[in-house]
Symmetry: D2
Subunit: 352 residues, 4 copies
């Protein structure tokens, strides 16, 4: 190519190569990030795939600040596999302006979800004071029917609809994670299926025991009112809170089956909480070992969750998506970002 043309090409800004590129319009659609979805890599095990879910979401239809379609767009972009629309029944501060029933936010979001082939779960939040507190009813069919005075009745109606009940943020708002008699009753009656070990910006350490003690599924949800990117994008590498669901298939039914089987882990702020079995299997599936002749081993973390382990008084980090060179450990390591219970960390051993 001639030097003149070369200089002409040089004058084409590196930054402004557009797709339709003429005098009238330069389009930058190839830079439209709304068409890009993250991939969150978390392996499965035992034939299950790991679905990344958020079961606690608000919109302008109760006390949130976005239109319902944004929630689907947001979650799709982040790399999640499913969200539940759970606007408050009782608390609707915009109701003078936003005139709609309790199913509308789901209906609007559903159109966006169908366009993107994204799984959307219908739900709502029964919003009362402690001791009962807040509970999400998901997999319901008609949220309007839950708008009754007696919250225990609302729970029953939800159950009749095939609903699944989550006890939200047990430690909010009084910073006390109390398991009240009413919850004991509900759990025993099979009317509480899951609980939030983490919600928005706080975790409830006492509750890390509850999955084992009460047989309810541990969850981490955002309870997002603003935008997830706005509230959680702290620092350069972040993974928003999510409930990991180990399902047989990626579908509504697959998620429900796994939730019923309590096959979940709560993931938040780099920490995982749940049963020893699932934590162990997840860690095992995530770390691939290659032993070197030098007495060291290369451990490749094929997942997006980093692991921190203590062995013989020393700390070892297995960064997400990288390979760490570590000694060929003998004996157990304590995985200090994985909790099987309150103050109880997972013990892990590398396969020989």
């Amino acid at each position: 190519m001639k030097r003149i043309a070369a200089i002409a090409l040089l004058l084409l800004p590196l930054a402004a190569a557009a797709q339709i590129s003429n005098d009238d319009v330069h389009k930058y659609d190839h830079r439209n990030n709304s068409q890009v979805r993250n991939v969150i890599s978390i392996p499965g095990f035992d034939g299950y795939q790991t679905l990344k879910c958020d079961f606690h979401i608000h919109t302008a239809f109760s006390d949130g600040s976005v239109w319902p379609d944004i929630r689907v767009q947001e979650a799709w972009q982040e790399g999640l596999d499913a969200i539940a629309m759970t606007d408050h029944i009782e608390y609707r501060p915009h109701k003078n302006i936003v005139v709609a029933d309790h199913n509308e936010s789901y209906n609007i979001a559903k159109k966006a979800a169908d366009r993107l082939g994204f799984i959307l779960i219908k739900g709502t939040e029964i919003t009362r004071s402690k001791p009962l507190g807040h509970l999400n009813a998901i997999f319901i069919t008609d949220a309007n029917k839950l708008d009754v005075e007696d919250p225990l009745k609302a729970i029953d109606i939800a159950r009749e609809q095939g609903g699944y009940i989550i006890w939200n943020h047990p430690g909010w708002p009084d910073d006390k994670s109390t398991f009240y008699p009413i919850h004991d009753e509900l759990v025993k009656a099979g009317k509480i299926d899951a609980y939030e070990a983490y919600n928005y910006m706080e975790s409830y350490p006492l509750t890390f025991d509850w999955h084992a003690d009460y047989g309810i599924a541990p969850m981490a949800n955002t309870d997002i009112h603003g935008t997830v990117a706005g509230d959680y994008a702290y620092g350069d590498r972040w993974l928003r809170p999510m409930t990991l669901v180990f399902a047989r298939e990626k579908s509504l039914e697959g998620i429900r089956e796994a939730l019923d089987a309590r096959r979940t882990l709560a993931f938040f702020q780099g920490t995982l909480v749940g049963s020893e079995e699932y934590l162990f299997k997840l860690v095992k599936a995530s770390l691939k070992v290659r032993r070197l002749s030098s007495g060291n081993m290369e451990v490749t973390n094929i997942s997006d969750i980093a692991y921190e382990m203590v062995h013989d008084g020393r700390l070892y980090v297995f960064p997400a998506g990288k390979t760490a060179l570590v000694p060929d450990f003998s004996g157990e390591l304590v995985v200090r970002n994985c909790y099987t219970g309150h103050n109880k960390c997972l013990h892990f051993t590398f396969e020989k």
Copy 2:
């Protein structure tokens, strides 16, 4: 500290040190990104400070997808200095659900703006077909009064209120950036003050001449309907589109004075468009030179906008916030990401 305590400390996850940290609740408020605001560094010159603004914004009150307070939160977090609320008058697809007048989105956002000490400009979008097209009227006092059948009358009403008129996305939707007779009329009558050289995901190269030809202020606005982080966060380093306003003070009055004086540049996709004077002065204020004895110079770009220059057939990049080692150039460089007009790049010389 004893070894036991040391190991106990090791078992404190690196990731989960929270602020109130007890059994009932671990708070992570120190990681709440909604409390963090970016700093966008762009120097001023001649005693002006550079305000980063977006004059074209939508909410759920017309055809956008967020509650108005989110727009203030978003812009504050991004590091902007001001936004204009410009919901459509004529196009309000949610109006069966969102029941409000044309001032409501501004009123709601204003509360959030006042809490954050953020500058919010009242505005609206007169939304018609070409040839007239869409125009934003900002600095108005009552958007309801612009809801009239004749758009030219709406413009006059806006002017009576002290409004400032922006001609939006001239090349949309037909991909032709035509300066129609009606625009010529309006410009001559002083009824068009500014135009968008860039809107959302496209620029209009022909219009790069208009600031010089017609004396109207060049702008780059998002016309955002979804979320800015969702649509623009493409790649690791991104600066959303913005109109740079060189103002005497950071206030509503300061912005208006600068807009009246046409003291703006359009910034989008790493590219700047506007008058030679402002481009030159901005580049000059951004690049600090230190000459070395070896015949090279260190050029430190103290701004967040990178510059790409061609000299003698070679390309040199001055990355944002870094120092580049380059030859001690004699003669002019062509700044290929700065346009003074259509196909006309800024010529720059380093001071001796």
Copy 3:
């Protein structure tokens, strides 16, 4: 935990949690990045795995600036699978200080390589003026024996040792990529096996045809003298230049077999060069498709190489490690960052 203890914990800096943590010493070994290796994800095809290699490396033993062990450490950290040590025979500016024969840099590096289980290839660079230019001889057994006056003899000696010959940077230093008669001779005699389509900071577009025209393997190597991180870490996301080798196994033999079969692609600056067959198969293996009912498809790029394709006048980008939402294309796309020859881009079709 009591509030006092809570505050005490708060006073433990987030940043300084160390592994052995006592008054005498706080260790930060868990942050020692030299123990961390990147994972570069590039899928294979047809039963081959994709090895990431650099066949042109210098050390302080000729005109480079690092000790040989650093090259192994560097490449291991970057995620490469093999490097060739190719110090100059003829050009050794440090020889007054660094006293050693031509095999020493390999010998020193070999110890580091064995400790890390990293593949190191013995080699050297025959360094002459054009027309012959520079050639690397790799897979040799004794570099000392190549220190002869006649470079053609050096080539023959290399071949006798089982060596593999690479024609380096054909366009350097005179910016002309001339295929001289001597190269024609050598190629016909089977004495040139590969060539560099890219070296250090430049590519040679005319040579993009040579793999097809002459049956020699296309390569991209750094020819690094300084440090790779120092010279190439430009911008936040970078992949240093590398030669992709599609091998049956990850070993010296596997690499040699693939090089003999010309089963390589040159990768540099986001661009790939090589045969249509391998480019097509690599792109196909990298992009996983999920069709949506809406007439769009989700294309997940499971590799670390982004692809840019033009279809019907529009540009589409498939970012590394992400999913892009694009139309369900019918017909061919031009992959504009993949060259099958000079000015010839790969044509790609998505499977139905």
Copy 4:
């Protein structure tokens, strides 16, 4: 521009726009990162500027793994202001290959330093067993003369040359930070000027008191043998360890004057150690306050060092280069990443 040309331009890879761009060669020199220097922003106070220094560096001339010029290139790229070349006198494992005297590494590096206008300090490391341990002698004129049997004599010779003595890594290698009688003697005789509170990958908490107790300057140095980018680039945001020197001017003399006045802070792993006066003034210069009417304040951290403060049981983070929205605190905050002594954190108050 015609559509054909538009499509032709589309076929120009986004990624491969080079500076000289023709068939023979495409140059990517504009992407050569070795020409780019980071800017590390740390404000000064009281008329002093903050120089970023590393006073403990090794090369292949003792037991390091790089040629001396790389150290200058490295430090220049990282954004440092000065380094000291401190190869071991006694420990030179490469001496069979690298044949040179004790001044050669400095001499070679000096050429690179002069080309870049970078400050290089001549030095060496007196390398003995404990109790004496290792000491750097910097600002010497002839390292050869320190090659004597008696290390105390070497210290005296260094002092005669105008040298400045640093006690290196007091807690290495036995993990005990013992202040031996010999050190007490040397300090009292004015023969130890500074000490390392941090070296390579460890800090010595007991020594955080020494600047106050003994009047010696606190330092944090890398003692780098490999490459800084290789060993420290852990995670996305990292600042390598450095000694901050508050100097009147950026020159050898300026650094020496500040070192004599003990005007330093040790910075490592996000932590600062040193006198209360300098810590307070640095924090104060770094955090700019803007009070809002809502009872909150915006605190902009204009530096590249983040600060973490505890107030009334709550943790607040002031991220580097960003603005944090926090309450308008009354009373003191404990700056938990700033140590005035062992287990003693800086107390800070925002100005009214």
